[in-house]
Amino acid sequence: MSSPQPKSAGFILGFSMVIAVLIAVPFFVDLFYQTFLTEVLVWVLFAVSFDLIFGYTGLLSFGQALFFGLGAYSIAIPVSKFGLGPGPAFLLAIIIPMLFAWFVGYFSVKLSGIHFVIITLIFALIGSTIGETWPSLTGGADGLTVPFSPLQIGPLKIDLTDIKTNYYLVLIVVALCFLLLRRMVQSPLGKVFIAIRENEDRARLIGYNVQRYKLLAFVIAGGLSGIAGGLYGITLKYASANFLHWGVSGHAVVYTIVGGMGTLFGPVLGTGIIMSLEHYLVNYLQGTDLVIGIVLVFMVLVAPKGLVGLLQRKGK
Protein backbone atom coordinates (compact mmCIF):
# COMPACT_ATOMS: atom_id res chain seq x y z
CA MET A 1 0.00 0.00 0.00
CA SER A 2 2.66 2.50 1.04
CA SER A 3 4.89 2.16 -2.01
CA PRO A 4 3.10 0.64 -4.97
CA GLN A 5 5.41 2.34 -7.46
CA PRO A 6 8.56 0.14 -7.45
CA LYS A 7 6.47 -3.06 -7.29
CA SER A 8 4.51 -2.00 -10.32
CA ALA A 9 7.70 -1.04 -12.17
CA GLY A 10 9.09 -4.48 -11.42
CA PHE A 11 5.93 -6.04 -12.75
CA ILE A 12 6.06 -4.06 -16.00
CA LEU A 13 9.67 -5.10 -16.51
CA GLY A 14 9.00 -8.79 -15.76
CA PHE A 15 5.81 -8.89 -17.79
CA SER A 16 7.46 -7.27 -20.83
CA MET A 17 10.35 -9.71 -20.64
CA VAL A 18 8.04 -12.73 -20.51
CA ILE A 19 6.00 -11.38 -23.43
CA ALA A 20 9.18 -10.65 -25.40
CA VAL A 21 10.34 -14.24 -24.88
CA LEU A 22 6.92 -15.58 -25.84
CA ILE A 23 6.92 -13.47 -29.02
CA ALA A 24 10.36 -14.80 -29.96
CA VAL A 25 9.75 -18.49 -29.16
CA PRO A 26 7.93 -19.54 -32.39
CA PHE A 27 11.04 -18.64 -34.39
CA PHE A 28 13.06 -21.24 -32.49
CA VAL A 29 10.69 -24.19 -31.96
CA ASP A 30 8.86 -26.42 -34.44
CA LEU A 31 5.12 -26.50 -35.13
CA PHE A 32 4.47 -29.22 -32.56
CA TYR A 33 5.79 -27.09 -29.71
CA GLN A 34 4.08 -23.98 -31.09
CA THR A 35 0.77 -25.82 -30.75
CA PHE A 36 1.72 -27.06 -27.29
CA LEU A 37 2.60 -23.55 -26.19
CA THR A 38 -0.68 -22.23 -27.58
CA GLU A 39 -2.55 -24.78 -25.49
CA VAL A 40 -0.54 -23.83 -22.40
CA LEU A 41 -1.55 -20.19 -22.90
CA VAL A 42 -5.22 -21.17 -23.22
CA TRP A 43 -5.09 -23.13 -19.96
CA VAL A 44 -3.23 -20.24 -18.32
CA LEU A 45 -6.26 -18.05 -19.03
CA PHE A 46 -8.59 -20.75 -17.70
CA ALA A 47 -6.49 -21.05 -14.53
CA VAL A 48 -6.31 -17.31 -13.83
CA SER A 49 -10.07 -16.98 -14.36
CA PHE A 50 -10.48 -19.71 -11.74
CA ASP A 51 -8.03 -17.87 -9.49
CA LEU A 52 -10.32 -14.83 -9.53
CA ILE A 53 -13.29 -16.83 -8.22
CA PHE A 54 -11.36 -19.17 -5.90
CA GLY A 55 -8.07 -17.51 -5.03
CA TYR A 56 -9.42 -13.98 -4.62
CA THR A 57 -13.09 -14.41 -3.76
CA GLY A 58 -12.74 -17.71 -1.88
CA LEU A 59 -15.40 -19.63 -3.81
CA LEU A 60 -14.33 -23.10 -4.95
CA SER A 61 -16.22 -23.49 -8.22
CA PHE A 62 -16.25 -26.80 -10.05
CA GLY A 63 -18.54 -25.15 -12.60
CA GLN A 64 -15.83 -23.39 -14.63
CA ALA A 65 -15.77 -26.32 -17.08
CA LEU A 66 -19.33 -25.43 -18.05
CA PHE A 67 -18.28 -21.93 -19.15
CA PHE A 68 -15.13 -23.24 -20.80
CA GLY A 69 -17.15 -25.76 -22.82
CA LEU A 70 -19.81 -23.17 -23.62
CA GLY A 71 -17.10 -20.85 -24.91
CA ALA A 72 -15.80 -23.55 -27.24
CA TYR A 73 -19.31 -24.39 -28.44
CA SER A 74 -20.27 -20.73 -28.87
CA ILE A 75 -17.66 -20.70 -31.60
CA ALA A 76 -17.96 -24.25 -32.91
CA ILE A 77 -21.73 -24.41 -33.40
CA PRO A 78 -22.34 -21.04 -35.14
CA VAL A 79 -19.30 -21.49 -37.37
CA SER A 80 -19.89 -25.11 -38.39
CA LYS A 81 -23.70 -25.12 -38.48
CA PHE A 82 -24.63 -21.59 -39.51
CA GLY A 83 -21.51 -20.43 -41.33
CA LEU A 84 -20.91 -17.46 -39.02
CA GLY A 85 -17.51 -15.76 -39.34
CA PRO A 86 -14.95 -16.38 -36.57
CA GLY A 87 -15.00 -12.71 -35.47
CA PRO A 88 -18.65 -12.50 -34.42
CA ALA A 89 -18.47 -16.09 -33.13
CA PHE A 90 -15.65 -15.05 -30.80
CA LEU A 91 -17.86 -12.31 -29.36
CA LEU A 92 -20.47 -15.00 -28.70
CA ALA A 93 -17.82 -16.98 -26.82
CA ILE A 94 -17.63 -14.10 -24.34
CA ILE A 95 -21.32 -13.22 -24.12
CA ILE A 96 -22.93 -16.66 -23.92
CA PRO A 97 -20.74 -18.02 -21.08
CA MET A 98 -21.29 -14.75 -19.17
CA LEU A 99 -25.06 -15.10 -19.51
CA PHE A 100 -24.91 -18.68 -18.29
CA ALA A 101 -22.54 -17.65 -15.49
CA TRP A 102 -25.04 -15.03 -14.44
CA PHE A 103 -27.82 -17.63 -14.36
CA VAL A 104 -25.75 -20.26 -12.51
CA GLY A 105 -24.21 -17.66 -10.22
CA TYR A 106 -27.57 -16.13 -9.36
CA PHE A 107 -28.51 -19.38 -7.59
CA SER A 108 -25.05 -20.53 -6.51
CA VAL A 109 -23.95 -17.42 -4.58
CA LYS A 110 -26.94 -17.84 -2.29
CA LEU A 111 -25.00 -20.78 -0.85
CA SER A 112 -21.54 -20.74 0.68
CA GLY A 113 -18.79 -23.13 1.71
CA ILE A 114 -19.20 -26.73 0.63
CA HIS A 115 -22.77 -26.16 -0.56
CA PHE A 116 -21.43 -23.73 -3.15
CA VAL A 117 -18.91 -26.34 -4.32
CA ILE A 118 -21.61 -28.94 -4.76
CA ILE A 119 -24.13 -26.73 -6.54
CA THR A 120 -21.56 -25.52 -9.11
CA LEU A 121 -20.52 -29.12 -9.68
CA ILE A 122 -24.15 -30.08 -10.31
CA PHE A 123 -24.67 -27.26 -12.81
CA ALA A 124 -21.60 -28.44 -14.72
CA LEU A 125 -22.92 -32.00 -14.63
CA ILE A 126 -26.25 -30.93 -16.06
CA GLY A 127 -24.37 -29.15 -18.84
CA SER A 128 -22.19 -32.13 -19.72
CA THR A 129 -25.12 -34.58 -19.53
CA ILE A 130 -27.14 -32.45 -21.93
CA GLY A 131 -24.09 -32.00 -24.15
CA GLU A 132 -23.52 -35.76 -24.33
CA THR A 133 -27.14 -36.60 -25.12
CA TRP A 134 -27.72 -33.94 -27.77
CA PRO A 135 -25.27 -35.05 -30.48
CA SER A 136 -27.23 -33.42 -33.30
CA LEU A 137 -26.20 -30.04 -31.84
CA THR A 138 -22.98 -30.75 -29.94
CA GLY A 139 -21.54 -33.82 -31.64
CA GLY A 140 -21.68 -35.52 -28.21
CA ALA A 141 -18.46 -37.01 -26.86
CA ASP A 142 -17.11 -37.33 -30.43
CA GLY A 143 -17.38 -33.58 -30.80
CA LEU A 144 -17.65 -31.15 -33.69
CA THR A 145 -14.90 -30.32 -36.13
CA VAL A 146 -14.87 -26.67 -37.11
CA PRO A 147 -13.75 -25.41 -40.53
CA PHE A 148 -12.48 -21.85 -40.03
CA SER A 149 -12.52 -19.21 -42.71
CA PRO A 150 -9.94 -16.42 -42.29
CA LEU A 151 -10.74 -13.78 -39.68
CA GLN A 152 -11.21 -10.34 -41.29
CA ILE A 153 -10.46 -7.30 -39.12
CA GLY A 154 -10.67 -4.22 -41.36
CA PRO A 155 -8.07 -4.68 -44.10
CA LEU A 156 -6.22 -7.25 -41.98
CA LYS A 157 -6.79 -10.88 -42.91
CA ILE A 158 -5.89 -13.43 -40.21
CA ASP A 159 -5.57 -17.06 -41.25
CA LEU A 160 -6.59 -19.10 -38.19
CA THR A 161 -5.44 -22.39 -39.70
CA ASP A 162 -1.85 -21.14 -39.61
CA ILE A 163 -0.34 -22.40 -36.36
CA LYS A 164 1.96 -19.45 -35.78
CA THR A 165 -0.77 -16.89 -36.47
CA ASN A 166 -3.07 -18.77 -34.13
CA TYR A 167 -0.37 -18.69 -31.46
CA TYR A 168 0.04 -14.93 -31.66
CA LEU A 169 -3.71 -14.39 -31.57
CA VAL A 170 -3.99 -16.50 -28.41
CA LEU A 171 -0.96 -14.76 -26.88
CA ILE A 172 -2.48 -11.31 -27.44
CA VAL A 173 -5.88 -12.25 -26.01
CA VAL A 174 -4.44 -14.07 -22.99
CA ALA A 175 -1.99 -11.22 -22.23
CA LEU A 176 -4.77 -8.64 -22.42
CA CYS A 177 -7.04 -10.71 -20.16
CA PHE A 178 -4.21 -11.17 -17.68
CA LEU A 179 -3.55 -7.43 -17.54
CA LEU A 180 -7.26 -6.75 -17.13
CA LEU A 181 -7.48 -9.25 -14.27
CA ARG A 182 -4.39 -7.83 -12.58
CA ARG A 183 -5.79 -4.31 -12.83
CA MET A 184 -9.07 -5.57 -11.39
CA VAL A 185 -7.66 -7.39 -8.37
CA GLN A 186 -5.61 -4.32 -7.46
CA SER A 187 -8.57 -1.98 -7.79
CA PRO A 188 -11.04 -1.28 -4.96
CA LEU A 189 -13.27 -3.95 -6.50
CA GLY A 190 -10.53 -6.55 -6.04
CA LYS A 191 -10.13 -5.47 -2.42
CA VAL A 192 -13.83 -6.17 -1.86
CA PHE A 193 -13.39 -9.66 -3.34
CA ILE A 194 -10.48 -10.30 -0.97
CA ALA A 195 -12.47 -8.93 1.95
CA ILE A 196 -15.23 -11.45 1.16
CA ARG A 197 -12.69 -14.27 1.04
CA GLU A 198 -11.12 -13.26 4.33
CA ASN A 199 -14.33 -12.75 6.26
CA GLU A 200 -17.70 -12.76 4.60
CA ASP A 201 -19.62 -11.61 7.66
CA ARG A 202 -17.34 -8.68 8.28
CA ALA A 203 -17.59 -7.58 4.65
CA ARG A 204 -21.37 -7.71 4.98
CA LEU A 205 -21.31 -5.74 8.25
CA ILE A 206 -19.19 -3.02 6.69
CA GLY A 207 -22.05 -2.59 4.27
CA TYR A 208 -21.05 -4.45 1.13
CA ASN A 209 -23.72 -6.41 -0.69
CA VAL A 210 -21.73 -9.62 -0.52
CA GLN A 211 -23.98 -11.66 -2.82
CA ARG A 212 -23.84 -9.04 -5.54
CA TYR A 213 -20.05 -8.89 -5.45
CA LYS A 214 -19.82 -12.69 -5.46
CA LEU A 215 -22.11 -12.78 -8.47
CA LEU A 216 -20.00 -10.14 -10.20
CA ALA A 217 -16.81 -12.15 -9.59
CA PHE A 218 -18.57 -15.28 -10.81
CA VAL A 219 -19.79 -13.64 -14.02
CA ILE A 220 -16.37 -12.13 -14.81
CA ALA A 221 -14.62 -15.44 -14.10
CA GLY A 222 -17.22 -17.23 -16.21
CA GLY A 223 -16.68 -14.83 -19.11
CA LEU A 224 -12.91 -15.30 -18.95
CA SER A 225 -13.31 -19.09 -18.79
CA GLY A 226 -15.54 -18.75 -21.83
CA ILE A 227 -12.85 -16.82 -23.70
CA ALA A 228 -10.37 -19.57 -22.79
CA GLY A 229 -12.82 -22.16 -24.13
CA GLY A 230 -13.32 -20.14 -27.30
CA LEU A 231 -9.57 -19.91 -27.86
CA TYR A 232 -9.30 -23.64 -27.23
CA GLY A 233 -11.96 -24.30 -29.86
CA ILE A 234 -10.10 -22.06 -32.35
CA THR A 235 -6.78 -23.75 -31.58
CA LEU A 236 -8.02 -27.33 -31.88
CA LYS A 237 -10.64 -26.50 -34.57
CA TYR A 238 -12.82 -28.74 -32.45
CA ALA A 239 -15.27 -28.79 -29.53
CA SER A 240 -16.57 -31.75 -27.56
CA ALA A 241 -19.04 -32.45 -24.76
CA ASN A 242 -16.03 -33.61 -22.73
CA PHE A 243 -15.01 -29.94 -22.41
CA LEU A 244 -18.12 -29.41 -20.28
CA HIS A 245 -17.32 -32.15 -17.78
CA TRP A 246 -16.68 -30.96 -14.22
CA GLY A 247 -13.37 -32.86 -14.27
CA VAL A 248 -12.07 -30.14 -16.61
CA SER A 249 -12.53 -27.68 -13.74
CA GLY A 250 -10.14 -29.94 -11.86
CA HIS A 251 -7.32 -28.83 -14.19
CA ALA A 252 -7.77 -25.25 -13.01
CA VAL A 253 -7.83 -26.42 -9.39
CA VAL A 254 -4.54 -28.27 -9.84
CA TYR A 255 -2.76 -25.45 -11.70
CA THR A 256 -3.94 -22.85 -9.20
CA ILE A 257 -3.12 -24.84 -6.05
CA VAL A 258 0.29 -25.90 -7.31
CA GLY A 259 1.24 -22.40 -8.45
CA GLY A 260 -0.27 -20.52 -5.53
CA MET A 261 -3.84 -19.29 -5.24
CA GLY A 262 -4.79 -15.66 -5.02
CA THR A 263 -1.65 -14.50 -6.81
CA LEU A 264 -2.55 -14.60 -10.57
CA PHE A 265 1.14 -15.25 -11.23
CA GLY A 266 0.91 -18.57 -9.39
CA PRO A 267 -1.65 -20.18 -11.71
CA VAL A 268 0.46 -19.10 -14.71
CA LEU A 269 3.48 -20.80 -13.20
CA GLY A 270 1.43 -23.83 -12.13
CA THR A 271 -0.07 -24.29 -15.59
CA GLY A 272 3.33 -24.13 -17.26
CA ILE A 273 4.98 -26.57 -14.87
CA ILE A 274 2.15 -29.09 -14.65
CA MET A 275 1.50 -29.12 -18.40
CA SER A 276 5.20 -29.62 -19.12
CA LEU A 277 5.26 -32.42 -16.56
CA GLU A 278 2.21 -34.03 -18.18
CA HIS A 279 3.78 -33.65 -21.58
CA TYR A 280 6.78 -35.77 -20.54
CA LEU A 281 4.93 -38.22 -18.31
CA VAL A 282 2.11 -39.18 -20.64
CA ASN A 283 4.33 -41.57 -22.61
CA TYR A 284 5.54 -43.46 -19.55
CA LEU A 285 2.42 -43.89 -17.44
CA GLN A 286 -0.47 -44.15 -19.94
CA GLY A 287 -1.80 -40.95 -18.42
CA THR A 288 -0.79 -38.48 -15.77
CA ASP A 289 -3.47 -38.46 -13.07
CA LEU A 290 -1.38 -40.54 -10.67
CA VAL A 291 1.41 -37.97 -10.54
CA ILE A 292 -0.95 -34.99 -10.74
CA GLY A 293 -3.02 -36.35 -7.87
CA ILE A 294 0.04 -36.95 -5.72
CA VAL A 295 1.43 -33.49 -6.50
CA LEU A 296 -1.94 -31.92 -5.63
CA VAL A 297 -2.19 -33.74 -2.29
CA PHE A 298 1.45 -32.95 -1.51
CA MET A 299 1.03 -29.23 -2.23
CA VAL A 300 -2.19 -28.98 -0.23
CA LEU A 301 -0.53 -30.59 2.79
CA VAL A 302 2.99 -29.18 2.63
CA ALA A 303 2.76 -25.90 0.73
CA PRO A 304 -0.87 -24.68 0.67
CA LYS A 305 0.32 -21.33 -0.71
CA GLY A 306 1.84 -23.05 -3.72
CA LEU A 307 5.14 -22.48 -5.46
CA VAL A 308 4.74 -18.70 -5.22
CA GLY A 309 4.34 -19.05 -1.47
CA LEU A 310 7.51 -21.15 -1.30
CA LEU A 311 9.44 -18.60 -3.36
CA GLN A 312 8.24 -15.74 -1.17
CA ARG A 313 9.17 -17.60 1.99
CA LYS A 314 12.64 -18.17 0.63
CA GLY A 315 12.93 -14.55 -0.40
CA LYS A 316 12.39 -13.33 3.14
Binding site: L111, I119, I130, G293, V297, V300
Partner: protein, 283 residues
Protein backbone atom coordinates in the same frame (compact mmCIF):
# COMPACT_ATOMS: atom_id res chain seq x y z
CA UNK B 1 -45.74 -54.84 -19.20
CA UNK B 2 -46.66 -55.81 -15.66
CA UNK B 3 -43.62 -58.07 -15.39
CA UNK B 4 -41.35 -55.35 -16.80
CA UNK B 5 -42.71 -52.98 -14.20
CA UNK B 6 -42.24 -55.53 -11.44
CA UNK B 7 -38.64 -56.12 -12.50
CA UNK B 8 -37.98 -52.37 -12.66
CA UNK B 9 -39.40 -51.89 -9.17
CA UNK B 10 -37.44 -54.80 -7.74
CA UNK B 11 -34.25 -53.63 -9.49
CA UNK B 12 -34.83 -50.12 -8.14
CA UNK B 13 -35.26 -51.27 -4.56
CA UNK B 14 -32.23 -53.58 -4.69
CA UNK B 15 -30.02 -50.94 -6.30
CA UNK B 16 -31.35 -48.53 -3.68
CA UNK B 17 -30.03 -50.83 -0.93
CA UNK B 18 -26.57 -50.84 -2.49
CA UNK B 19 -26.67 -47.06 -2.93
CA UNK B 20 -27.83 -46.67 0.66
CA UNK B 21 -24.63 -48.33 1.90
CA UNK B 22 -22.32 -46.07 -0.09
CA UNK B 23 -24.36 -42.99 0.81
CA UNK B 24 -24.31 -43.96 4.50
CA UNK B 25 -20.51 -44.09 4.38
CA UNK B 26 -20.30 -40.70 2.67
CA UNK B 27 -22.80 -39.20 5.07
CA UNK B 28 -21.15 -40.57 8.21
CA UNK B 29 -17.85 -39.04 7.15
CA UNK B 30 -19.58 -35.78 6.34
CA UNK B 31 -21.66 -35.69 9.53
CA UNK B 32 -18.70 -36.28 11.79
CA UNK B 33 -15.64 -34.82 10.06
CA UNK B 34 -17.46 -32.27 7.86
CA UNK B 35 -15.44 -33.59 4.95
CA UNK B 36 -16.90 -33.90 1.46
CA UNK B 37 -15.04 -37.02 0.46
CA UNK B 38 -14.45 -36.77 -3.30
CA UNK B 39 -12.52 -40.03 -3.04
CA UNK B 40 -15.60 -41.94 -1.89
CA UNK B 41 -16.33 -43.15 -5.42
CA UNK B 42 -12.86 -44.65 -5.79
CA UNK B 43 -13.22 -46.39 -2.42
CA UNK B 44 -16.36 -48.03 -3.81
CA UNK B 45 -14.43 -48.94 -6.96
CA UNK B 46 -11.52 -50.24 -4.86
CA UNK B 47 -13.94 -52.50 -3.00
CA UNK B 48 -14.99 -54.14 -6.25
CA UNK B 49 -11.43 -54.34 -7.62
CA UNK B 50 -9.93 -55.78 -4.42
CA UNK B 51 -12.81 -58.26 -4.32
CA UNK B 52 -12.03 -59.27 -7.90
CA UNK B 53 -8.45 -60.07 -6.87
CA UNK B 54 -9.62 -62.03 -3.82
CA UNK B 55 -12.05 -64.04 -5.96
CA UNK B 56 -9.29 -64.64 -8.47
CA UNK B 57 -7.13 -65.93 -5.62
CA UNK B 58 -9.62 -67.97 -3.58
CA UNK B 59 -12.49 -68.49 -5.99
CA UNK B 60 -14.90 -67.59 -3.21
CA UNK B 61 -17.19 -64.55 -3.39
CA UNK B 62 -18.07 -64.61 0.31
CA UNK B 63 -14.44 -64.45 1.40
CA UNK B 64 -14.02 -61.41 -0.85
CA UNK B 65 -17.17 -59.83 0.57
CA UNK B 66 -15.66 -59.94 4.06
CA UNK B 67 -12.02 -59.18 3.24
CA UNK B 68 -12.31 -56.42 0.61
CA UNK B 69 -14.12 -53.97 2.96
CA UNK B 70 -11.49 -54.71 5.65
CA UNK B 71 -8.68 -53.90 3.23
CA UNK B 72 -10.37 -50.74 1.93
CA UNK B 73 -11.28 -49.73 5.48
CA UNK B 74 -7.59 -49.93 6.35
CA UNK B 75 -6.76 -47.83 3.28
CA UNK B 76 -9.37 -45.30 4.40
CA UNK B 77 -7.84 -45.23 7.84
CA UNK B 78 -4.42 -44.60 6.35
CA UNK B 79 -5.84 -41.75 4.23
CA UNK B 80 -7.40 -40.10 7.28
CA UNK B 81 -4.37 -40.55 9.52
CA UNK B 82 -1.72 -39.85 6.93
CA UNK B 83 -3.24 -37.12 4.81
CA UNK B 84 -6.46 -35.52 6.00
CA UNK B 85 -5.70 -35.19 9.69
CA UNK B 86 -3.87 -31.89 9.55
CA UNK B 87 -6.42 -30.17 7.29
CA UNK B 88 -9.63 -31.47 8.80
CA UNK B 89 -10.62 -28.00 10.03
CA UNK B 90 -10.58 -26.58 6.47
CA UNK B 91 -13.52 -28.14 4.60
CA UNK B 92 -12.69 -26.57 1.21
CA UNK B 93 -9.07 -27.73 1.36
CA UNK B 94 -10.13 -31.28 2.20
CA UNK B 95 -12.32 -31.31 -0.92
CA UNK B 96 -9.25 -30.47 -3.02
CA UNK B 97 -7.11 -33.03 -1.19
CA UNK B 98 -9.63 -35.86 -1.61
CA UNK B 99 -10.00 -34.83 -5.27
CA UNK B 100 -6.25 -35.39 -5.64
CA UNK B 101 -6.55 -38.79 -3.93
CA UNK B 102 -9.37 -39.64 -6.35
CA UNK B 103 -7.21 -38.83 -9.39
CA UNK B 104 -4.21 -40.76 -8.10
CA UNK B 105 -6.08 -43.91 -7.00
CA UNK B 106 -8.17 -44.08 -10.16
CA UNK B 107 -5.09 -43.91 -12.35
CA UNK B 108 -3.17 -46.36 -10.17
CA UNK B 109 -5.97 -48.92 -10.57
CA UNK B 110 -6.01 -48.25 -14.31
CA UNK B 111 -2.28 -49.01 -14.48
CA UNK B 112 -2.46 -52.20 -12.40
CA UNK B 113 -5.95 -53.61 -12.94
CA UNK B 114 -6.19 -52.40 -16.54
CA UNK B 115 -8.76 -50.45 -18.51
CA UNK B 116 -10.97 -53.35 -19.59
CA UNK B 117 -14.10 -53.97 -17.53
CA UNK B 118 -14.15 -57.42 -15.91
CA UNK B 119 -16.94 -59.67 -14.72
CA UNK B 120 -17.37 -61.38 -11.37
CA UNK B 121 -19.01 -64.77 -11.47
CA UNK B 122 -22.32 -64.80 -9.65
CA UNK B 123 -22.04 -67.10 -6.63
CA UNK B 124 -25.75 -67.97 -6.51
CA UNK B 125 -27.03 -69.02 -9.92
CA UNK B 126 -30.69 -69.65 -9.03
CA UNK B 127 -33.63 -67.78 -10.52
CA UNK B 128 -37.25 -67.52 -9.55
CA UNK B 129 -40.43 -66.77 -11.42
CA UNK B 130 -41.63 -63.15 -11.41
CA UNK B 131 -44.86 -63.04 -13.45
CA UNK B 132 -43.66 -64.11 -16.91
CA UNK B 133 -39.95 -63.41 -16.27
CA UNK B 134 -37.09 -65.14 -14.49
CA UNK B 135 -35.44 -63.03 -11.79
CA UNK B 136 -31.94 -63.81 -10.45
CA UNK B 137 -32.01 -64.91 -6.83
CA UNK B 138 -28.57 -63.36 -6.24
CA UNK B 139 -29.97 -59.86 -6.37
CA UNK B 140 -32.45 -60.59 -3.61
CA UNK B 141 -29.61 -62.01 -1.52
CA UNK B 142 -27.59 -58.84 -2.17
CA UNK B 143 -30.49 -56.73 -0.91
CA UNK B 144 -30.85 -58.95 2.16
CA UNK B 145 -27.13 -58.61 2.95
CA UNK B 146 -27.36 -54.81 2.58
CA UNK B 147 -30.29 -54.72 4.99
CA UNK B 148 -28.31 -56.89 7.39
CA UNK B 149 -25.37 -54.47 7.26
CA UNK B 150 -27.66 -51.50 7.86
CA UNK B 151 -29.22 -53.18 10.90
CA UNK B 152 -25.77 -53.99 12.23
CA UNK B 153 -24.75 -50.37 11.68
CA UNK B 154 -27.82 -49.17 13.54
CA UNK B 155 -26.94 -51.37 16.51
CA UNK B 156 -23.34 -50.22 16.36
CA UNK B 157 -24.32 -46.56 16.43
CA UNK B 158 -27.07 -46.87 19.03
CA UNK B 159 -25.99 -49.66 21.35
CA UNK B 160 -22.20 -49.59 21.61
CA UNK B 161 -19.73 -47.29 23.32
CA UNK B 162 -18.08 -46.26 20.04
CA UNK B 163 -21.45 -45.50 18.52
CA UNK B 164 -22.31 -43.33 21.49
CA UNK B 165 -18.98 -41.52 21.13
CA UNK B 166 -19.61 -40.92 17.46
CA UNK B 167 -23.03 -39.43 18.10
CA UNK B 168 -21.62 -37.32 20.91
CA UNK B 169 -18.90 -35.88 18.65
CA UNK B 170 -21.50 -35.08 15.97
CA UNK B 171 -23.64 -33.23 18.49
CA UNK B 172 -20.99 -31.20 20.23
CA UNK B 173 -17.36 -31.75 19.48
CA UNK B 174 -15.93 -29.52 22.20
CA UNK B 175 -18.13 -30.99 24.87
CA UNK B 176 -17.09 -34.47 23.73
CA UNK B 177 -13.43 -33.48 24.11
CA UNK B 178 -14.14 -32.07 27.55
CA UNK B 179 -15.81 -35.33 28.59
CA UNK B 180 -12.69 -37.27 27.66
CA UNK B 181 -13.91 -38.88 24.46
CA UNK B 182 -10.89 -39.66 22.23
CA UNK B 183 -12.15 -37.54 19.34
CA UNK B 184 -9.12 -38.26 17.18
CA UNK B 185 -9.74 -41.97 17.38
CA UNK B 186 -13.43 -41.50 16.67
CA UNK B 187 -12.48 -39.59 13.50
CA UNK B 188 -10.13 -42.35 12.43
CA UNK B 189 -12.64 -45.16 12.98
CA UNK B 190 -15.46 -43.23 11.36
CA UNK B 191 -13.43 -42.66 8.21
CA UNK B 192 -12.39 -46.32 8.19
CA UNK B 193 -15.99 -47.45 8.67
CA UNK B 194 -17.26 -45.09 5.97
CA UNK B 195 -14.62 -46.38 3.56
CA UNK B 196 -15.47 -49.98 4.42
CA UNK B 197 -19.16 -49.30 3.74
CA UNK B 198 -18.28 -47.87 0.32
CA UNK B 199 -16.17 -50.94 -0.42
CA UNK B 200 -18.91 -53.24 0.81
CA UNK B 201 -21.41 -51.74 -1.59
CA UNK B 202 -18.76 -51.99 -4.32
CA UNK B 203 -18.43 -55.74 -3.75
CA UNK B 204 -22.20 -56.16 -3.67
CA UNK B 205 -22.59 -54.18 -6.90
CA UNK B 206 -19.84 -56.13 -8.66
CA UNK B 207 -22.00 -59.16 -9.66
CA UNK B 208 -24.62 -56.78 -11.13
CA UNK B 209 -22.36 -54.32 -12.97
CA UNK B 210 -18.91 -54.70 -14.48
CA UNK B 211 -15.79 -54.12 -12.40
CA UNK B 212 -14.10 -51.13 -13.98
CA UNK B 213 -11.64 -48.47 -12.82
CA UNK B 214 -14.13 -45.75 -13.78
CA UNK B 215 -17.11 -47.26 -11.95
CA UNK B 216 -16.78 -44.84 -9.03
CA UNK B 217 -17.28 -41.69 -11.08
CA UNK B 218 -21.01 -41.85 -11.69
CA UNK B 219 -21.61 -43.45 -8.30
CA UNK B 220 -19.96 -40.56 -6.48
CA UNK B 221 -22.48 -38.17 -7.99
CA UNK B 222 -25.40 -40.47 -7.18
CA UNK B 223 -24.16 -40.72 -3.59
CA UNK B 224 -23.99 -36.89 -3.40
CA UNK B 225 -27.56 -36.62 -4.66
CA UNK B 226 -28.78 -39.13 -2.09
CA UNK B 227 -26.95 -37.52 0.81
CA UNK B 228 -28.21 -34.04 -0.07
CA UNK B 229 -31.79 -35.06 -0.73
CA UNK B 230 -31.84 -37.16 2.42
CA UNK B 231 -30.15 -34.45 4.46
CA UNK B 232 -26.46 -34.07 5.27
CA UNK B 233 -25.78 -35.78 8.58
CA UNK B 234 -29.19 -37.51 8.54
CA UNK B 235 -28.45 -41.23 8.18
CA UNK B 236 -32.04 -42.48 8.12
CA UNK B 237 -32.75 -39.83 5.49
CA UNK B 238 -29.96 -41.23 3.30
CA UNK B 239 -31.44 -44.74 3.37
CA UNK B 240 -34.89 -43.45 2.51
CA UNK B 241 -33.56 -41.15 -0.23
CA UNK B 242 -31.43 -43.96 -1.72
CA UNK B 243 -34.43 -46.24 -2.12
CA UNK B 244 -36.80 -43.54 -3.39
CA UNK B 245 -34.30 -42.13 -5.91
CA UNK B 246 -33.26 -45.56 -7.21
CA UNK B 247 -36.90 -46.55 -7.51
CA UNK B 248 -37.79 -43.39 -9.43
CA UNK B 249 -34.77 -43.86 -11.72
CA UNK B 250 -35.49 -47.55 -12.24
CA UNK B 251 -39.17 -47.09 -13.06
CA UNK B 252 -38.59 -43.77 -14.81
CA UNK B 253 -36.10 -45.33 -17.23
CA UNK B 254 -39.00 -47.39 -18.63
CA UNK B 255 -40.62 -44.16 -19.79
CA UNK B 256 -37.89 -41.55 -20.38
CA UNK B 257 -34.26 -41.80 -21.57
CA UNK B 258 -31.86 -42.34 -18.64
CA UNK B 259 -29.93 -39.13 -19.40
CA UNK B 260 -33.12 -37.11 -19.03
CA UNK B 261 -33.81 -38.85 -15.71
CA UNK B 262 -30.30 -37.83 -14.60
CA UNK B 263 -30.85 -34.20 -15.59
CA UNK B 264 -34.14 -34.13 -13.69
CA UNK B 265 -32.62 -35.61 -10.54
CA UNK B 266 -29.73 -33.10 -10.75
CA UNK B 267 -32.15 -30.21 -11.14
CA UNK B 268 -34.17 -31.57 -8.24
CA UNK B 269 -30.99 -31.63 -6.17
CA UNK B 270 -30.39 -27.94 -6.91
CA UNK B 271 -33.90 -27.13 -5.72
CA UNK B 272 -33.36 -29.13 -2.52
CA UNK B 273 -30.00 -27.39 -1.91
CA UNK B 274 -31.58 -23.96 -2.34
CA UNK B 275 -34.83 -24.40 -0.48
CA UNK B 276 -34.32 -27.31 1.90
CA UNK B 277 -30.58 -27.47 2.63
CA UNK B 278 -31.33 -29.70 5.62
CA UNK B 279 -32.75 -32.32 3.23
CA UNK B 280 -36.27 -33.44 2.45
CA UNK B 281 -36.72 -35.37 5.68
CA UNK B 282 -34.91 -32.99 8.06
CA UNK B 283 -36.54 -30.89 10.77
Amino acid sequence: MISNLAVAILNGVIWGMIMALIALGLNMIFGLLHIINMAHGVLYMLGAVVAWYFIDLTGNFWVALILAPVVVGAIGMAIERGLLRTIEDQPIITIICTFGIMLAVQHLVFMTFGGTPRRINIPIEGRFQLFELQYPLMRVVIAAISIGVMIALWFFLNKTKYGLWMRAVVQDREMAVALGIPVNQVYMWTFALGSALAAFSGVLAAPIVYVDFMMGREILIMAFIIVIVGGMGNLEGSVLAAIIISLIQGVGSLFVPPAMATVFSLAFMIIVLLFRPQGLFGE
